[in-house]
């Protein structure tokens, strides 16, 4: 099916009658996924939004429950706040689609199911657009994702001359496709594949990082310039660590969770003053190891999707692809040395 360019607005208007449709656009001086308004210009040509779409499912601040003292009985009450709504995420790229795989693994597997996440996840429909442009920092192909096609999406769009090819990929997608039909016509437009210009070899990175010991010089040289700000973790589509805190007023309070960053020293500091990751080096190592090694160990996939946001936004240009290259190099050297010895 083809969705003509000029029909896009009417389709989105139709869709947003029943659900909230999130589209990439310029909001408040930055680009992010925000509810569709027909008069606002969308940023579909934008290679990647500054802020990732993870906050649809895992908002930066999310209330968990409301507690306090009941007036009549004097007992403590706890009211869970589980928010959920039908949402459509439109115009998401391949890399961000893969980030949902990672978040799903973290929140929905291994014993406990995160109900706050699940309530939102179950009612999310995703419409991905294959990339028509890559930026210099894109490296999703190296992380095993195709920029042209996101198998995780419910509906896949691909842009060609004058319109989009529309394919439903899941049951949810099939259902939503019914709404597309009045705006589409038969046929197919010709599309061209794009490829990342930045390529690194991440195929063995997990094993290679295993070879390099904790005290390896690599981690010193990578961490010197890090400032320990939280930019990389907050713009990352897969970073899911959070803190639980509360806001109190008189005899009431709300406990909420909010994004936290493993780059902050306060993140692991314990009440008695001990900190298991006291140095910048430990924290930098933990972040990269979590991305490229620990997560794969635990959930079987890499926690980096190759969107390039952290490379773009890091104030000191600390680059995960440079780390991957260096680690490969050093691990090889280490192995050759071991073979000789």
């Amino acid at each position: 099916m083809i969705l003509k360019d000029e029909m896009l607005d009417s389709l989105l208007t139709e869709l947003s009658k029943e659900q909230i449709v999130y589209v990439p656009k310029q909001v408040n001086g930055t680009t992010r996924f925000a509810p569709y308004v027909s008069s606002d210009k969308m940023k579909l040509d934008q290679v990647n939004t500054v802020m990732p779409p993870k906050d649809l499912l895992f908002p930066q601040t999310q209330n968990m429950y409301h507690y306090g003292v009941e007036k009549n009985s004097g007992n403590m009450f706890i009211d869970p706040v589980i928010e959920s709504a039908d949402q459509i995420l439109f115009g998401v790229r391949s890399c961000d689609m893969r980030s949902f795989d990672c978040l799903d693994a973290a929140f929905l597997t291994k014993g406990y199911i995160d109900e706050f996440y699940q309530a939102k996840r179950d009612r999310l429909t995703t419409i991905a657009i294959g990339c028509t442009e890559v930026s210099e920092t894109c490296f999703c192909e190296s992380m095993g994702q195709d920029p042209n096609h996101a198998p995780q999406a419910d509906i896949q769009l691909r842009h060609g001359e004058g319109g989009y090819n529309v394919t439903a990929q899941t049951e949810k997608g099939e259902a939503l496709l019914e709404k597309f039909k009045p705006f589409c016509e038969e046929g197919e437009v010709e599309v061209a594949d794009v490829h990342c210009t930045l390529n690194v070899d991440a195929s063995n990175i997990k094993d290679n990082l295993d070879i390099l010991h904790e005290s390896h010089e690599l981690w010193d040289s990578m961490s010197y310039k890090c400032l320990n700000c939280g930019t990389c973790t907050f713009v990352c589509p897969t970073c899911y660590c959070f803190d639980i805190d509360q806001e109190n007023r008189c005899k009431e309070g709300v406990r909420f969770r909010c994004w936290d960053s493993c780059m902050f020293s306060e993140y692991t500091a314990m009440a008695g003053g001990h900190n298991p990751r006291p140095e910048k080096r430990d924290r930098v190592r933990n972040r990269f190891m979590h991305k490229l090694n620990y997560f794969e160990d635990r959930y079987g996939k890499m926690l980096c999707v190759g969107c390039g946001r952290c490379i773009e936004k890091c104030p000191v240009s600390l680059d995960i692809t440079v780390l991957i290259d260096r680690a490969n190099e050093l691990a090889q050297a280490e192995e050759t040395e071991a073979a000789h010895a």
Binding site: Y224, G230, W259
Partner: protein
């Protein structure tokens, strides 16, 4: 390769080899075209990676704090870097003899994407380093900026509602990554007030109130020490107009308490840590 890069490498190598310094802080080329990133040389061989061009956007002085236990640290300094060093010496982060400064007159840095002069460099008044042990290249003639407080005047000319909208929008998009704090040479508290979770100055929720509280209080904490380098604004991933705030504070202090520039010397009398009995009385 430019002359400065060559001399910089030579001098850094020589200093490391003769044991004057234990480490050298400069810049190296990044992966992408026109991208640079801070480089910390720990042995003489690393100095071959040093470069200096119009894209060395980072102010590197703050790394001295992490490295000082290694011994004397060599730093390549431009105007802003040298003021940052002075500032940190005045704040007792280290001593002048802990650093060896290779001064480089600054050609003004460019944005790597657009190729135009960086925002933070536009109203720079001190392109020559204000303190150094050696100067590489010729000192250049300083051009005083047309308006030192241009960034603040853009906003202060507007009416109250417009100003409020600008800052509300800005603080609403702040993600509280604290990059502005971590990159700032004046932010040297061992424990920042936002990390004092037991005291609870600041909630962790990301909303306008808390973000504005953070932004304003951080700016106020460094207000009389700000060296106007603009690193906070450059580092900000969400492009908050942080210099519009800092410049405003600096402007007020200059007009009310007398002209000064922070970081020009190491014995500056900071406006909020001193007073004069003849200060203007407006609370009578």
């Amino acid at each position: 390769m430019s002359d400065i890069t060559t001399t910089l490498r030579e001098r850094a190598r020589a200093l490391m080899e003769d044991g004057t310094i234990a480490a050298f802080i400069g810049w190296e080329a990044g992966r992408f075209e026109r991208q640079t990133t801070p480089l910390i040389c720990l042995d003489a061989a690393d100095t071959d990676r040093l470069i200096f061009d119009e894209y060395c956007v980072n102010t590197t002085a703050k790394y001295v704090r992490d490295l000082k236990q290694r011994g004397r640290i060599g730093v390549a300094v431009r105007g802003c870097d040298s003021r940052a060093i002075n500032r940190m010496i005045e704040d007792n982060q280290f001593k002048r003899e802990d650093v060896y400064l290779l001064g480089i007159p600054c050609p003004q840095m460019n944005d790597r994407k657009t190729g135009t002069v960086l925002n933070k460099c536009q109203d720079c008044a001190h392109r020559n380093p204000v303190t150094y042990d050696e100067l590489l290249g010729e000192a250049m003639e300083e051009t005083a900026p047309q308006d030192r407080y241009a960034r603040a005047h853009l906003v202060s000319g507007l009416d109250r509602i417009a100003r409020q909208n600008i800052f509300n929008m800005a603080f609403e998009r702040c993600i509280r990554c604290y990059a502005c704090r971590d990159v700032c040479p004046c932010c040297t508290c061992r424990t920042c007030f936002v990390d004092q979770r037991n005291v609870g100055w600041l909630g962790k929720q990301d909303n306008l109130s808390e973000n504005r509280f953070y932004g304003m209080i951080r700016a106020f904490h460094i207000s009389d020490r700000c060296i106007e380098c603009g690193e906070c604004e450059r580092a900000c991933p969400m492009d908050l107009p942080l210099m519009a705030i800092n410049k405003k504070l600096v402007e007020d202090m200059n007009t009310l308490f007398g002209e000064y520039e922070s970081g020009m010397t190491t014995d500056n009398e900071d406006a909020l840590r001193s007073f004069s009995k003849t200060d203007l009385e407006e609370f009578e």
